[in-house]
């Protein structure tokens, strides 16, 4: 299951891209492609284990 705070957007924060890109609604920014693999739980990556943004967000909720 991908991170519940991941969205794909073409535009945000005054920036626009041809193809929708991974966007973190906790950090309010487009994420690096390396991090996007974590957001999408790709391969052996898992947002609940490997993403400090998500882990801090959960701890604060």
């Amino acid at each position: 299951m991908t991170c519940p705070r991941l969205e794909y957007r073409r535009a945000a924060n005054g920036r626009e891209f041809e193809t929708a890109r991974a966007y973190c609604t906790v950090a309010d920014r487009f994420v690096q492609p390396l991090r996007a693999d974590i957001c999408t739980d790709r391969y052996a990556l898992d947002h609940a284990d490997h993403c400090e943004i998500y882990r801090r967000h959960v701890a604060e909720e």
């Binding site: 794909y8 920036r15 891209f17 193809t19 929708a20 890109r21 991974a22 920014r29 487009f30 994420v31 690096q32 492609p33 390396l34 991090r35 996007a36 693999d37 974590i38 999408t40 790709r42 391969y43 052996a44 990556l45 284990d49 490997h50 993403c51 400090e52 882990r55």
Partner: protein
């Protein structure tokens, strides 16, 4: 390789690292991600003097791809636009099953070169890119089978020790070619003394390539030129041309370092000359 090679006006091989596997257009909108964009960027970089292009594959969303098909599309786009260049595929990745790390080696034709990350790296707060000895050996074995020259990526002194250990385990074709990398994180700290130490600890007769991340790209390329090494520049490693000024392209960064090389009296190697130097 030493200051002697600089004084002898030995040619310098410039590698253009066009895309990378970490950041994307969110860091610099000029960073190429699609095969067409990478092909065009490669053409511009070669026109500016690059003899080698270091290639990572991406999906259209900018996210990383290791698929043979995606690397094939990139290579085809490069070859459509460039008469001659050495293509170097990255095999680097994080959290990816080891079998998939081999996929970039399987294009037709195979790349002339491919990267071989020599050890682990910490990423973000809770992640490590693992590059085990078993994986290094497995990738190297396939590179040998496909006649692909490895570019040994040395992120720190521990990785330099792993280069020597690899030579104890396996036969590497001469010359050994190692990229010495400087920056932050798990990477050797970017100090000139550390570059000179790393050079002195290379295997005998090895050729080194110099890579500085971010604001260290230009100074470490300059040091590499003066110490007789090769240099790597490009948007993969540095998205800025100057403080606060995004680079327009990897070609802009290549042009700056080739101009510097010529000013310092080192000719810029063509792809043909680079093949002679690297034993391709």
């Amino acid at each position: 390789m030493t200051y002697r090679e600089y004084l002898a006006n030995e040619p310098v091989i410039v590698t253009a690292a066009l895309t990378g596997g970490v950041h994307g257009k969110e860091a610099n909108p000029n960073l190429p991600e699609t095969p067409a964009e990478i092909g065009a960027a490669a053409a511009d970089a070669v026109a500016a003097g690059a003899a080698v292009v270091h290639v990572h594959a991406r999906e259209d969303s900018g996210e990383r791809s290791l698929s043979t098909e995606r690397f094939q599309a990139i290579d085809d786009a490069i070859r459509d636009r460039v008469d001659d260049v050495i293509i170097q595929h990255s095999t680097g990745a994080t959290g990816v099953p080891e079998a998939r790390r081999h996929h970039p080696l399987r294009t037709d034709p195979p790349p002339e070169m491919a990267s071989l990350d020599m050890g682990p790296l910490n990423r973000y707060q809770h992640l490590t890119s693992e590059n085990t000895r078993g994986l290094i050996d497995s990738l190297h074995a396939e590179m040998v089978d496909r006649n692909i020259k490895p570019e040994l990526e040395v992120f720190n002194d521990g990785h330099l020790a792993e280069v020597h250990a690899l030579l104890d385990r396996r036969d590497l074709a001469d010359p050994v070619y190692a990229t010495l990398i400087f920056g932050g994180g798990t990477v050797t700290r970017a100090r000139p003394r550390n570059l000179m130490n790393a050079i002195s600890n290379l295997p005998e007769d090895a050729i080194f390539n110099t890579l500085g991340f971010g604001r260290h790209q230009l100074p470490f390329a300059t040091l590499g030129l003066l110490l007789g090494g090769q240099v790597r520049v490009g948007l993969e490693d540095n998205v800025y041309y100057a403080a606060g000024e995004l680079a327009t392209s990897s070609a802009q960064l290549v042009d700056r370092v080739t101009t510097l090389a010529k000013t310092l009296g080192r000719p810029v190697a063509t792809p043909a000359t680079a093949r002679d130097i690297l034993g391709l």
